[in-house]
């Protein structure tokens, strides 16, 4: 499934341009060290973590995109950092459980 499709189906707000690519699974975490240790390339990272190091970890692991739950929004500096690294950042007012449920409903595993 493509990132753009997921963004459209869930009505996610695009905080950066969408760098469209295939999504391979989902990882939910707010811990930088956990993301580095356990997230997989191509995963959609669902988090409430808006620190610059969330982008640093997402980039290191090569996740597909970051979905910020509960309406979280990083600073403009962090968004610029993500865009330079071609990491898509999306936002939703849904909480992490609701995001996970909706991702499952649309077929992501």
């Amino acid at each position: 499934m493509r990132l753009q499709q997921i963004a459209d189906k869930l009505g996610l707000e695009k905080l950066t341009p969408v760098f469209d690519q295939d999504i391979d699974g989902v990882y939910i975490s707010d811990m930088i060290s956990d993301v580095i240790a356990n997230a997989k390339p191509g995963n959609l990272l669902v988090t409430v973590q808006v620190h610059a190091n969330a982008v640093a970890a997402a980039n290191l692991v090569d996740v597909c995109a970051i979905v910020l739950a509960q309406g979280k929004r990083p600073s403009d500096d962090v968004l610029r950092m993500a865009e330079k690294a071609k990491i898509t950042v999306l936002s939703t007012p849904l909480n992490r459980w609701q995001v996970a449920s909706k991702l499952y409903e649309v077929g992501l595993r």
């Binding site: 295939d22 811990m31 580095i36 640093a56 690294a85």
Partner: protein, 182 residues
């Protein structure tokens, strides 16, 4: 889902723990160590003429890298964490180098190490850094993207705050609060 071949170099044997920052009185010297206890120890202790006090702790992990072709495993016990170039001060030399590298798809990270007993930063051997770079680059699937992890030849470790390194300081604070309620 697309089939992805197994990478040759792989992070393995992940051990969760804490990076503990402590400070000595009266010298005001600071140092860090990795701790695998359930909670970070906070008791002050005396070492020679210095008394060491807990300052802060961050959740982190230590790991090894395995060469799946040979089965050889290298442990990265000297590695405190990685520092992303974009988390450095705007205008700093390394940040400017990082911006140039990023413009051609190369993301620079600096390997920040623990101090050795004499207070100087530990070194990550060049051969180990090569493995670390390959472990992260082997699994990248975005075309044209590269990760470049450099040794701290710039003395960055002494210039940055712990919050700039890729560690979980804020979440440790939450852990401590829940511990204190219990």
């Amino acid at each position: 889902m697309r089939e992805v071949s197994a990478p040759r170099y792989q992070l393995v044997d992940s051990v969760p723990g804490f990076v503990v920052v402590e400070r000595a009185a009266p010298s005001n010297q600071a140092r860090c160590y990795f701790c695998t206890e359930a909670t970070a120890p906070k008791e002050a202790y005396r070492e020679g003429d210095q008394e060491w006090h807990f300052e802060e702790a961050a959740q982190s992990f230590q790991f090894s890298v395995r060469d799946n072709a040979t089965g050889e495993v290298l442990r990265f016990h000297e590695l405190l964490g990685l520092l992303y170039y974009a988390c450095l001060e705007p205008g700093s030399q390394l940040r400017r180098i990082g911006e140039v590298a990023q413009s051609v798809g190369v993301s620079i990270y600096i390997a920040i190490t623990y101090d050795s007993p004499d207070g100087t930063p530990c070194e990550v051997a060049a051969s180990k850094l090569e493995w670390l770079n390959r472990a992260f680059n082997d699994r990248i699937r975005t075309p044209g993207k590269k990760i470049l992890i450099l040794p701290d030849l710039f003395g960055i470790q002494k210039q940055v705050s712990s919050g700039q390194i890729m560690l979980d300081f804020s979440l440790t604070t939450m852990t401590e609060r829940s511990d204190s309620v219990a």
